[in-house]
Amino acid sequence: MRALTMVRKNLWLRPVRSWLTIAGLAIAVGAIVSLVGIAQRFEQAFLELYNRRGGDLVVQRAGGAMQLASGIDQRVGQRIRSLPHVQQVIGSLMDMVAFEQSDLFAVIVNGWEPDSPVLSAVDTVSGRRLRAGDRQRVMLGNVLAANLGKHVGDRIELYGEPFEVVGIFESFSILESGAVFVLLDELQRLMHRPNHVTGYLVEVDKTGGQNTVEQVQRQIEAFGPQISVLPTGSFIKSIAQIKVVRAMADVTSLVAIVIGALSVANTMTMSVLERRAEIGMLHAVGWRPSRVLTLILLESLLLCVVGAVAGCLLGLVTIKAMAHISALSGLVDGRLSASILLDGCLLALAAGMLGALYPAWWAMRLTPLAALRAKT
């Protein structure tokens, strides 16, 4: 017999309790990997979008806690374009709208200039692109079009006005394929923010060296204290919505892991209390205290490993299911990274070990006299 056989069989003594503990851990791990996964994918989606659009710097109004609520004058864009080493400047006004009848509550609306490289970068799968002079016309990302059940020629309502769908596009980014594109001046009119954009994405010609980006950053910052310039990565980490999602995921994970640890602690404490006589017998036949401790910790570890694996599977199923919920399908793409799954497993194991520490210590300290005194 190997020690693991004993561990496995000890857990099998109370199968219902063991499976319930595993289920509790699996739910905790599932919640962690899916929530943290969503937060991470959300952040990665932004990063990928900005990187593939060729952005080195993001220019916004300084001090705006909420990105969507702040704005910057379009004249700033003109000044940035005139700076040396600046290769491309993409301005965009952004907002979020809801299509409540379709259960879509956070749909991104982007206003682009007619000659914006973004408009020419997306693949038009049906209809046409927006062009200068288009009024009350939109392009829909293919995910959004599917969720709304709209096709080219159909109408949607934006800000209380009817808009004709002139094209449906596909994008590498889940943030764009679930979005509405309109022309910039049209969105400025609808949002009552004439001559303003949410921000600029600036691409720098880096042939002059790596510090060219920093040079351009300093030049733009010199425009005035009302201008904030951040490298793309730093900007994404500063987005309030991402911070909120990440904080919510972290807090929920913490709660889940505490509940998981308490669940293991409860199970292992009950198990040790019930098996006092057996544990006392192990001491009486000469098991060293550390071996008793290891036995209890291994039992907990086995519970946690099974719980962690089940939790990862649960998380994968959850996130796939969430990607099919229309309200989230523009924000969740149904993928989980290996690092998230690994983190979830490690957290479960840590919770399990933490939860088992006290009962294992208690079992280790139990005197062999308990074997003679306890009744089987």
């Binding site: 003594l13 036949v285 060293r288």
Partner: protein, 237 residues
Amino acid sequence: MNDSSPSIDRPVLLQVEHASRLYPDGNVTALRDVSLTVHTGDYLSIMGPSGSGKSTLLNLMGAIDVPTSGEVYFEGESLAPQRRLHKIRAHKIGFIFQSFHLLPTLTALENVQIPMFEGSLSARQRRARAGELLELVGLAERMHHLPAQLSVGQRQRVAIARSLANDPPLLLADEPTGNLDSRSGGEVLDLFDRLHRQAGRTLVVITHSQEVAERAERIVHVRDGQIVSENGQPCAR
């Protein structure tokens, strides 16, 4: 002080010297200044009414409890509390409990292997040795059965096999037939006889039963925490 031990040429295996055991919780003195010598190859039974202190004495002899005052020596070494008593229990002493204390999820073969984890045998060697011991106690055919699938007599024989796992020089049995019917009890006592006579094991058995006690060469009576007689001869107080 009372030492009932007769003078014997065989080497001393275990010696209890002026041992007292006080339980402060209940303010109970379970043993008072007891001395007892066990020689290698002895078959000793300890008799006494409930609460007389005989189990306390067995616990001290088995290194699972320590005296409040006095000393216990095993093969000349003191079983002081700071010593690593688990090593002595693992390799020098085999315990047989009244209620067997077998692990219910393990087969007979696996239960017998439990003390062997403290030895240096491989998993394969542990299994082979457990098989031999179960054969010795007449349970070769039942080695893959769980305790619940065995009769109480068979369970006690598994426990005896387990006590022999690390080939200890001393076997301590606490009411080994207390939970058995007379036939099963007789089988266990026959096994003890064989272990003593054929294998030269040293046995110390606690019992209420005169019949069980009479199987031993030495019968020590304990009352009120003191040894009052050995083999019918009163001990000096």
